[in-house]
């Protein structure tokens, strides 16, 4: 069942159409990638989900029921830019945001202690935010976002400013949160993390939905009849009428050959001819990266 649904959302700012009948459906306990180039309308959609602004038309559902103002307490939002008071101390600030999200002071303290220990930021409790680096601030912001254990989490570019170690740490936290039952909407330009984390995506550009579905399905759809064959040892495989060779590589005593087949050919036929050339270790469809798909989809539209 979909935890969150947006149905034909349209939003106009003056003469600019920010969203044009955009629909998304986010299954429960799913990490949902909201993709799109700059200015596509992602932030507008996120703001509408957060009820910061209202849509001109369209409907929003949480748990199958129409989204109500009180539902903000079930949503956690990590904005793209750091939204913290610079002069305020980290601990007080986290406590303040937690209370605004409806937690009692004692409950907030308990949870903050848990998260601060978990992310190894206990020492920062009494520091002012302006004394922290960008990545450190991001960690604090992350804690304030997830603290009230919302059902729906929205992360807008959560990894900016992080070193690889911390990126990994936050990635694991996100996966952990999903395990514990959270559903996550994840907006980013970083396609590697999309492949790694996202189950489903929607790609919007210029206010319209261009692509949607599960990451695996999309990659398979865009596979475009390309396959990788891995041989043991050096193998010469020549192209023929059924396929042509796109790329060869040899490494570690293995040959990796990328080929593209003609139209819808039976892959068994290719395998048969390949077996004649040498010892086949693996035969896989060559899936395009999300990055390639992203670029191709957006460029095709322009």
């Amino acid at each position: 069942m979909a935890l969150f649904e947006a149905n034909k959302i349209t939003k106009q700012y003056g003469s600019v159409l920010a969203l044009d009948k955009v629909s998304i459906s986010v299954p429960e306990q799913c990490i949902f990638g909201l993709l799109g180039p700059n200015g596509a309308g992602k932030t507008t959609l996120i703001r509408i989900i957060n009820q910061i602004t209202g849509p001109d038309s369209g409907e929003l559902f949480l748990n199958g029921k129409k989204l109500k103002p009180e539902d903000v307490l079930q949503i956690g939002y990590l904005p793209e830019e750091r939204g913290l008071y610079k002069k305020m101390k980290v601990g007080e600030q986290a406590l303040y945001f937690a209370q605004l999200k409806g937690l009692s002071k004692t409950e907030a303290m308990k949870r903050l202690k848990y998260w601060f220990r978990k992310l190894d930021i206990v020492d920062w409790w009494g520091k002012k935010v302006e004394e922290l680096s960008k990545g450190m601030q991001q960690k604090v912001q992350f804690v304030t976002t997830v603290l009230h254990e919302p059902k729906l989490l929205i992360f807008d570019e959560p990894f900016t400013g992080f070193d690889p170690v911390n990126t990994n740490l936050i990635k694991n936290e996100i996966l952990f949160l999903r395990e514990r039952g959270a559903t996550i909407i994840f907006s980013t330009h970083n396609m590697e993390s999309v492949e790694e984390l996202c189950d489903n995506i929607t790609l919007i550009d210029k206010a319209k939905t261009l692509l949607e579905g599960s990451v695996n399905e999309i990659r398979n759809q865009w596979a475009a009849n390309e396959y990788d064959i891995v041989f043991a040892g050096e193998v010469e495989l020549e192209g023929d009428s059924q396929y042509k060779i796109l790329n060869r590589q040899t490494e570690n005593d293995r040959s990796i050959i990328r080929l593209k087949t003609v139209a819808d050919i039976d892959t068994n036929d290719i395998l048969k001819s390949a077996v004649k050339s040498g010892k086949v270790i693996s035969f896989n469809p060559a899936l395009p990266s999300m990055n390639e798909i992203f670029i191709r989809v957006v460029e095709a539209r322009n």
């Binding site: 939002y77 939204g83 945001f97 209370q99 009692s104």
Partner: protein, 452 residues
């Protein structure tokens, strides 16, 4: 807990804990007191400096013993000395300066010189001037050959001091002092201006801070923008009220201390002398030839001043001040909040600030005029018009304002501030989430009419 109260608490606590707030709160009354006390003390010390002055005349003996000595001044009449002889040595001989009186003095008033190494105090000069003036007048009168001149002169001598009393509606008479009323009008008008402006622009800076740091995005996803705006405005208002009340209590405490120490202890002679125009008393003392004997009337004058200060309707003044501070502040702070929400940084506020600053400055100017003429029609109208009334009305209060005028002014104020808060909230709601777009007045007008 209610969310607005969480926001109010944060705005209040973070500001009250700031060092600048604590310093300001304690220092302002001290500074205020210093402004009053320091000149008094300086004057007192100057007067206490003993000065010996040599008096030299050219080939004449007209003014011997004319200038009376006072407690701190001794005039030594030197016969047969030339000014040039003394010019270089007077300091060594223990004189503060040389008073040189040329024989032409009767005809040309400028024929008199006081030579000294330092700038002589004004009291000394006035003492010399009045003494000589009186003497010359006397000598001129003497040329008319009037009998018993000395006696007549003594009879003629008068001293005038106007006492102002106010008659209340029920006919009771209370002592007032125009000076006290003026000082109070000035103080409250200026204080109101400062408080409204200071805390109003604090609201604006706070809004800009939240906007540029994107804190709004986080907060607005859990509370309504209007709640955030009102929380901030109310929180800062409480900071202002706290500061004001601390000032009132400190002032009461300081006044109490002054009253008990100055009015009861023996050293009050000098203080009261200084408080009540020390220059005047010096002359009078010299003129009557008595010193330090007539301290009792001065003390009385001082306590009279004190009493007339006490006779002000303090309760009404403070209550009205608090009312006008709250409403005036709410009015302007909401405008400031709307401006803060519409811009991306503080430098952009300029174009919007001007139309807001004009009525405030205008009000301050009218308030200053009110001190001269509290009943003028300009003051009257400005104390009713809500944009200027907070400042002008508090300046009018010490002079007495009919209750119906206060009531009308307050009613108008309440209606207007609610309208302003309502409009500001509409602009704020849209503006706070707009980035990277230069806002114009036209744009703001459009936001005002947005419905959703």
């Amino acid at each position: 807990m209610n969310k607005i109260s969480i926001i109010i608490k944060r705005e209040y606590v973070t500001r009250v804990r700031k060092k600048s707030f604590i310093i300001m709160t304690i220092l302002a009354p001290v500074l205020m007191a210093a402004i009053i006390i320091v000149p008094t003390v300086v004057m007192m010390n100057q007067d206490q400096d003993f000065k010996k002055i040599a008096v030299v005349e050219d080939n004449a003996d007209l003014f011997r013993g004319v200038i009376k000595n006072t407690k701190n001044l001794e005039f030594v009449y030197l016969e047969n000395k030339k000014i040039d002889d003394l010019k270089n040595s007077f300091e060594k001989e223990g004189y503060y300066g040389i008073l040189y009186i040329s024989p032409e003095i009767v005809n040309t008033p400028n024929a008199i010189q006081l030579l000294s190494k330092k700038q002589p105090p004004i009291g000394l000069l006035e003492h010399i001037e009045t003494s000589l003036e009186k003497e010359i007048e006397k000598q001129k009168l003497m040329t008319y050959n009037i009998a018993n001149l000395d006696e007549i002169m003594k009879n003629v001598e008068t001293k005038v001091s106007v006492q102002t009393k106010k008659i209340g509606d029920s006919g009771e008479v209370s002592e007032t002092s125009t000076g006290i009323a003026m000082a109070l009008a000035y103080l409250s008008g200026f204080l109101m201006y400062m408080l409204v402006f200071m805390f109003g622009s604090q609201v604006m800076r706070g809004v800009i801070e939240e906007k540029t740091s994107r804190v709004v995005e986080v907060i607005v996803s859990s509370v309504k923008p209007v709640q955030l705006m009102m929380g901030k405005i109310i929180g800062i208002a409480l900071v202002g009220l706290t500061q004001f009340l601390i000032w009132v209590f400190l002032t009461i405490a300081i006044t109490g201390v002054i009253k008990s120490t100055v009015l009861k202890k023996g050293n009050l002679t000098e203080v009261s002398q200084n408080m009540t125009k020390s220059l005047m008393t010096d002359e009078q003392q010299a003129a009557t030839g008595t010193q330090s004997v007539n301290t009792t009337p001065q003390m009385a004058e001082f306590s009279k001043l004190f009493n007339s200060a006490m006779n002000q309707q303090w309760g009404l003044i403070i209550l009205c001040f608090i009312f006008y501070f709250i409403t005036g502040y709410l009015l302007y702070a909401s405008v400031f909040a709307a401006i803060g929400s519409a811009v991306d940084n503080e430098t952009e506020t300029q174009q919007f600030m001007l139309p807001v600053t004009i009525p405030i400055i205008l009000a301050l100017m009218v308030a200053m005029g009110t001190m001269q003429n509290p009943e003028s029609s300009l003051s009257f109208w400005c104390s009713l018009i809500p944009l200027t009334s907070p400042i002008v009305m508090v300046a009018r209060l010490p002079f007495g304002v009919p209750y119906w005028q206060i009531a009308v002014s307050m009613a108008l104020m309440i209606i207007t501030f609610m309208a302003f808060v309502w409009m500001a909230a509409k602009i704020y709601r849209t503006g706070i989430l707009m980035y990277g777009k230069k806002t114009s007045w036209k744009e703001m007008w459009k936001w005002l009419r947005y419905s959703g």
